[in-house]
């Protein structure tokens, strides 16, 4: 069974059809790229999957169950977590505080209603959960190369580190499917290589990745499969190299003369 199945997924904004009957499956453990020129509906598609936008029609199955009507926080709790193209952060908080907040789902998952005990006074079980979260937090900091910036306020971070903090927060949610919206845009070569390493580490740890980006060289090496989109519709899908060589995709990106 596929991890995520999109079936005739459609999103309309009034008369504009931003995503038009897209059908695509994501298998567990793979890295999937979604490519396409600006305005082709990639981010809208990711927003439909993460629950930030309601679906107009079509079905969205998560491990076989229909999740089309659920809200974004529910999808996060299923294991579908999204990062943003322009990182959304809690400006005045430090990197570590961001990750503490992002550990909400784990805290909830491990304790259920027993977390109410934290209001009355911390119990031993709650302390153990916080310790467990602390260990995970250290791992995530190390994996995202942010350990030396744990005490830095988010608003003082470089753009590359802000993006990495977005990924780190998503990782604190222990995602099964991580949706990355242009993680490499605006990054220098060193930072892209750093990101590449982080994403490969993630795949090794069992996280399925779905990435939107314009850096075709970066995605070509990283992604197992790709979905190409143009004007809201799926143009081609298959092995990344095949999709990138597809004349329709080249035409959509570069114009008819290059196909």
């Amino acid at each position: 069974m596929s991890l995520l199945s999109m079936n005739a997924l459609t999103k309309r904004f009034g008369g504009l059809c931003a995503v038009n009957e897209v059908k695509f499956d994501i298998e567990p453990g793979e890295i999937v790229a979604i490519i396409g020129p600006n305005g082709s509906g990639k981010t809208t598609l990711l927003n439909l999957v993460s629950g930030l936008l309601p679906i107009t029609s079509g079905t969205l199955l998560w491990k076989g169950a229909n999740i089309g009507d659920t809200s974004s926080h529910e999808r996060s709790s299923f294991g579908i977590v999204k990062t943003f193209q322009n990182p959304l952060l809690f400006g005045e908080l430090t990197v570590e505080e961001h990750l503490r907040i992002a550990s909400h789902l784990r805290f909830k998952r491990e304790l259920g209603w027993r977390r109410l005990a934290e209001i009355v006074g911390a119990s031993r079980r709650i302390r153990q959960v916080h310790e467990g979260i602390g260990v995970h937090l250290e791992e995530v900091l190390r994996m995202c190369r942010l350990a030396d910036k744990r005490g830095t306020q988010a608003e003082s971070l470089s753009y590359g580190d802000e993006k990495m903090l977005g990924v780190a927060m998503a990782l604190m949610c222990e995602p099964e499917l991580l949706l990355l919206d242009e993680p490499a845009s605006g990054l220098g070569q060193d930072e892209v290589e750093n990101l590449d390493g982080v994403l490969r580490d993630l795949q090794r740890s069992g996280v399925t990745l779905c990435i939107i980006d314009h850096k075709v060289g970066f995605l070509g090496k990283l992604a197992d499969r790709a979905l190409a989109m143009a004007n809201g519709s799926a143009l081609a899908a298959g092995r990344t190299q095949d999709v990138l060589r597809n004349p329709l995709v080249v035409e959509a990106y570069l114009g008819a003369g290059h196909a």
Partner: protein, 332 residues
């Protein structure tokens, strides 16, 4: 800071034994009762980032509900107080559900809660047969309280009300602090700073906004009942917009960044008009001037600024260094 708070608590506990002046103690009683409302307002406003204009309505509705359940249904004072808090909780849930389901934020949320508050005030003002309209209701019967060791006694006299107010404020501060130091406080802070991000991190934004609104209003309900029975008079002005603005002023003046800050704001705004003998018009102008001065020069409020200054002292620096290994998330 903690030591300072404990010291302040002890001083307040012993104050009626030292100070016999009714004038001074009355200022403190008003500070405590209005402090309960201001601290609870700050839970919604300062910590969760929702500018509710319904606070005075919750404050006034509960006093009316208590009075009605005592006179119409012969429920004793404390039972009626429970009914009133419950009633305000239900009303808050309904209003909160409407506002937060439709994702109303900032000014939109403020305007809609203001509309609900005005609706409540107009009902109270015009439902003469039950509320006695603009004439208000004199609350003659003083409530009784039974305490182990002291037996049953009537809530009358300055020092009795002083301890009732102080206990209520201490209880409110304790509950708010416990809530804010738990995961609930982390969720409130995340929602205040960026609710879209909070939602993608798995935080149920609707539920936590509703929770903050309900808890805040429940404490406003407690404050409203105590205020009415201390004064001994109930009128529709309790639910008025200036009353809500007074709570906002207390929070901004004291500092919205801490649990205790609004109490300092309540103290200054209660004491100021009494200490400086002014006419009603001049009093409102003084309020305004103090508020403008604070917002421009002390954006963190009196308590927030004092905390910053205290941290600069060398002794506080050492204490902070010793504590820095603790894995805490200070969201405010």
């Amino acid at each position: 800071m903690r030591a300072l708070q404990v010291l302040a608590g002890l001083l307040l506990l012993l104050l009626p034994q030292v100070v016999r002046s009714d004038f001074v103690l009355t200022i403190f009683i008003f500070t405590f009762i209005l402090g309960v409302a201001a601290v609870s307002f700050n839970l919604i406003f300062g910590f969760t980032g929702q500018l509710s204009m319904f606070h005075a309505a919750a404050f006034g509705i509960s006093a009316y509900v208590t009075q009605i359940s005592m006179t119409r249904f012969a429920i004793p004072f404390w039972g009626s107080l429970g009914c009133a808090v419950l009633f305000v909780l239900v009303v808050s849930m309904i209003i909160g559900t409407i506002c937060f389901r439709y994702r109303l934020k900032e000014f939109y949320f403020a305007v809609v809660t203001l509309a609900f508050a005005e609706m409540a005030r107009l009902v109270v003002l015009n439902w003469n047969s039950v509320t006695n309209g603009s004439l208000g209701i004199a609350l003659i019967d003083k409530p009784k309280l039974w305490l182990p060791g002291l037996g049953e006694f009537t809530l009358a006299g300055t020092s009795t009300w002083y301890y009732v107010g102080l206990t209520s404020l201490a209880f409110t501060l304790f509950v708010c602090r416990r809530v804010l130091n738990s995961w609930v406080g982390r969720c409130f802070g995340a929602i205040r700073l960026n609710d879209e991000l909070a939602s993608t991190l798995g935080i149920n934004v609707f539920r936590y906004k509703l929770l903050a609104f309900a808890i805040g209003n429940a404490f406003a309900a407690l404050a409203g009942v105590l205020y009415a029975w201390y004064i001994g008079y109930l009128e529709p002005d309790y639910l008025s917009i200036p009353q809500s603005l007074a709570f906002i002023s207390m929070v901004l003046l004291g500092g919205s960044g801490s649990v205790v800050g609004p109490v300092v704001g309540a103290l200054v705004l209660t004491a100021l008009p009494h200490i400086i003998q002014l006419s009603a018009e001049a009093r409102v102008m003084t309020y305004g001037a103090v508020l403008i001065f604070t917002i421009l020069l002390l954006p963190k409020g009196i308590w927030g600024t004092a905390a910053v200054l205290l941290k600069r002292l060398p002794i506080a620096g050492r204490a902070k260094a010793a504590k820095s290994s603790a894995p805490s998330v200070e969201l405010r």
